[in-house]
């Protein structure tokens, strides 16, 4: 079965150690969140897993056939229209016409309207840009999706909508998701497993399994769990929350 397996991963920028002895695995159908404070090497870890940085110590074995990224800032090409941006990763594989219609379908699925198709990113709102960002990632039908805090700047309605898309895709297509966030509630809602990453250097200090099936997690459950997490000694410590 396809899986991503990270073992004993160390990473340095110059003499500064960024990541220390990171080990975890991610299987098909699973969503794994990495939660930790900002600047704790989360993005570096994601880049290493996605092959954007070279592994120097330890191993990352990735047997998923395809992967895609959705970034925190949408990173759209400013000189391409909505549809051209979405079709960017597939245009050379399927040809212009086919890629265009696939991109249109995906755009509609993500709540973009036809009048937005020929707009440039400068004319889109932040929320719409993020929809394009997700559509671009999912149009490739990836087996593995990397999410780098893509929900953090969105309003709660859109946040919920896009999270549901990811969840649906994961359940129906078996897509695996490696999800980076500093929002515990988000992580509880989406993940099978949560890795708690402390910073300086980045190190996994705890792994939480959430047994409740993802489709059965209602708000009640999420709030209850979040409350529990916020009483956890390790979480209080790494986020430097003062206990009241």
């Amino acid at each position: 079965m396809a899986r991503l397996e990270v073992s004993e991963l160390n990473f340095y920028f110059g003499f500064t150690q960024i990541l220390n002895e990171i080990s975890f695995e991610l299987n098909k159908n699973e969503i794994v969140s990495i939660v930790g404070p900002s600047g704790g090497g989360k993005t570096t870890l994601l880049k290493l897993c996605g092959g954007l940085l070279d592994v120097t110590e330890g191993t990352i074995a990735n047997s998923f056939k395809s992967s895609a990224f959705a970034f925190q800032d949408a990173r759209l090409l400013p000189w391409k229209t909505t549809i051209e941006n979405i079709m960017l990763p597939i245009v050379s594989k399927y040809g212009y016409k086919e890629a265009y219609s696939m991109a249109c379908d995906m755009a509609l699925k993500f709540g973009l309207e036809e009048k937005d198709f020929e707009k440039y990113p400068k004319d889109l709102s932040g929320g719409m840009r993020q929809r394009v960002n997700f559509a671009r990632a999912l149009v490739t039908k990836p087996e593995l999706l990397f999410l780098d805090e893509p929900f953090s700047a969105l309003d709660i309605g859109l946040k919920r909508e896009l999270q549901d898309f990811v969840l649906q895709n994961s359940i129906s297509e078996g897509m695996a998701v490696l999800f980076i966030t500093h929002d515990i509630m988000e992580a509880i809602r989406l993940s099978d497993r949560i890795l708690l990453l402390k910073s300086d250097p980045g190190e996994v200090i705890k792994t939480y399994e959430i047994a409740q099936p993802k489709s059965l997690r209602d708000d009640e459950f999420v709030f209850e769990q979040t409350r529990k997490f916020l009483n956890d000694k390790d979480i209080l410590e790494i986020f430097e929350i003062k206990a009241r």
Binding site: W79, P89, S92
Partner: protein, 260 residues
């Protein structure tokens, strides 16, 4: 190709949007005519006299030869500075040392007035083609160079990462990221370098050549033919306006429609 068709399709609309500019040009001509009434024909000939002089110029073969020569020199000088400036700028931008070192040199080059270059070029190359073209190249090269340098310095790592995350080929990265980004810096610098070349070529001809529009202007000055001088100036401006507004502006509008 799609872009070219769109440029052609939008062209009539673009022309239609030019009424405001035409009105302001007509207003300028009216003021000019007032000036003629105040100062007389010797100082400021009437617009009508100048326009009939332009018509006469275009029917004399010598003038057409001169015009062609000037355009040729200007374009050749521009082409050379465009090629050198673009290549050196792009390469320079890839190396921090090169871009840091080139900064003061470019400042010096931009700071030297073109007239000083003409004097030096006349000493080095004597009268003629070489002096004119050298001055054009030296004056417009830094503009292109700085544009290219900034373009290649500012290629965004984030967008590049994004392209890499989808495992796109180098060819697609070049076509969809590098080229549009660089072009957005290069194109405006090419346009201003072209304007610069055209002005410099005439100045250089006026001082250091026996032929071309600039030289004709020198002759008109020495014979106090004000209307001929003004006609020549009008032709120069006409060429510049034609190239900038009729040829380049529609292209610019289309290729930069994604900008704020």
């Amino acid at each position: 190709m799609r872009m070219l068709l769109k440029i052609i399709k939008d062209f009539p609309w673009f022309l239609w949007s030019g009424w405001g500019s035409i009105a302001s040009i007509l207003l300028f001509l009216a003021l000019w005519d007032v000036g003629n009434h105040i100062y007389g024909d010797l100082v400021l000939p009437a617009p009508k006299a100048v326009f009939s002089e332009i018509y006469r110029l275009f029917s004399t073969p010598e003038f057409l030869v001169d015009l062609e020569l000037t355009v040729e020199r200007g374009l050749l000088g521009f082409a050379v500075s465009l090629a050198i400036g673009t290549i050196l700028g792009l390469v320079g931008g890839r190396f921090i040392t090169a871009s840091v070192m080139s900064r003061p040199i470019v400042t010096i080059l931009v700071g030297i007035p073109p007239i000083a270059w003409i004097v030096l070029a006349m000493i080095w190359f004597g009268f003629g083609d070489m002096t004119v073209m050298f001055t054009v190249v030296v004056a417009s090269f830094p503009i292109v160079f700085v544009g290219a340098l900034q373009g290649s310095r500012t290629i965004e790592g984030e967008l590049s990462d994004m392209m890499d995350s989808f495992h796109l080929s180098f060819w697609q990265k070049t076509r969809d990221l590098y080229f549009p980004h660089l072009f957005s810096y290069l194109f405006p610098s090419w346009v201003s370098a072209l304007g610069m070349s055209w002005k410099i070529v005439i100045m250089a001809e006026l001082l250091s050549s026996n032929d071309g529009i600039g030289a004709s202007l020198a002759v008109a000055r020495s014979q106090l033919e004000t209307s001929t001088a003004l006609a020549l100036v009008s032709v120069m401006i006409g060429v510049l306006l034609f190239v900038e507004y009729i040829v380049l502006e529609p292209i610019k509008k289309e290729v930069e429609s994604w900008r704020d």
